[in-house]
Assembly symmetry: C2
Homo-oligomer: 215 residues x 2
Amino acid sequence: MTLSRKPLSTERVLRAALAMADAGGTDTLTMRALGQALGVEAMSLYKHVAKKDAILDGIVDLVVGEIDLPVPGDDWKTAMRQRAISAHDVLLRHPWACALLMSRTNVGPAMLRYVESTLHSLRSAGFSVALADHAWNAMDNHIYGFTLRKVNSPFATDEYAEAAETHLPSLPPGEFPYLTELAVQVMEGHYDGVPPFTFGLDLILDGLERALATH
Amino acid sequence: MTLSRKPLSTERVLRAALAMADAGGTDTLTMRALGQALGVEAMSLYKHVAKKDAILDGIVDLVVGEIDLPVPGDDWKTAMRQRAISAHDVLLRHPWACALLMSRTNVGPAMLRYVESTLHSLRSAGFSVALADHAWNAMDNHIYGFTLRKVNSPFATDEYAEAAETHLPSLPPGEFPYLTELAVQVMEGHYDGVPPFTFGLDLILDGLERALATH
DNA sequence: TCCTTAGGCTTACGATGTAAGTCAGCTTAC
DNA sequence: GTAAGCTGACTTACATCGTAAGCCTAAGGA
């Protein structure tokens, strides 16, 4: 058609891909569907992106770009804490992104800025180069690991009790007393069954503080 | 053919699938290839497994079954440390397993036993139900998060210096001083570029110890 | 006016998971 | 001993995916 749609661009392709992933996850993000969303045939996309992988890398970097960077002047610990919480929030907004982030090596501009600013904050606070590297890796492992597992958990937070009730009988009685105990506590409302993000995070931050002091 | 191969079974299918994943990753594990490895057509596998997903769940559970369970009598901290290191070792032996483990909900027998024994160790040491749940989640997030990122890292440990040297020039000079600084340290051999697994682990374990004491 | 070229389109190929149907041989009941 | 039925394999076929290769057309420059 000569309807002359607004011309495509890498930017527009990535934006549409991001929207599509947000709407239905990475499974629904196919080249044909993406083309259709842009009023174009699948193959036309290849004029603007090299491979589908490039699209995935691109939208992951867009997501990383949404994370609040640590404020340079702030105390390192509060800066890192805010950064981690922001990252967690962002990844929850884009539940598909976590798996991609962990399973491919991303070196887009947003990712570089993200790591750079983190190192900046730590180095300025007196962390050695190696310790700073250890530190941001420890924090990020927790951020990604926690978020990925949360995102892949089959139950919404408020369904846990119900789920426990449903599945409890399928555990061979007596064989798993501690799992049973946990399920019962959740069922009876004494515990919601969801470890808070900040629990592990603060374990790490406090540990880093001591590591920094011990130097 | 009436060659009457040893008859198939779910067990044999899973074993072969595990071997195939170990040999070439999950990408090479296709139903057709798996059938061929067993001297059988792809569709014949469906008499023994419901879907390919069931195979994936199955081999993940086989891998989890390789992890050394914490020894009941041991001090919780050393027990947890050994368990974590064993899990890390196992997941490095099966580099494809980590992503599967995190991205799907696995409730196979080995996984249940794994979690049960962990809770057992923690509860016996005086952790409350909720704290024990927080604790094993914090530990496991680190185990899986760390291992997954390590496994997906494009460079072998001893290639880091070389990689840093290769990629350093591609960083816009001056724009990423801290990343550059890190790369230089790796390049010059002052730091190998690989945070140790036990760094983050001990941060968490020490933190848990304090959380237990504070109760 | 003609030529280049950018940015679309069409067609086609080789994977892949799996639904559906077939068929041979073994087991079991009479 | 024979008929019936089940089991575990095979064959065929389909929809969907990424993408290679080549075509077509309209805009812009010479």
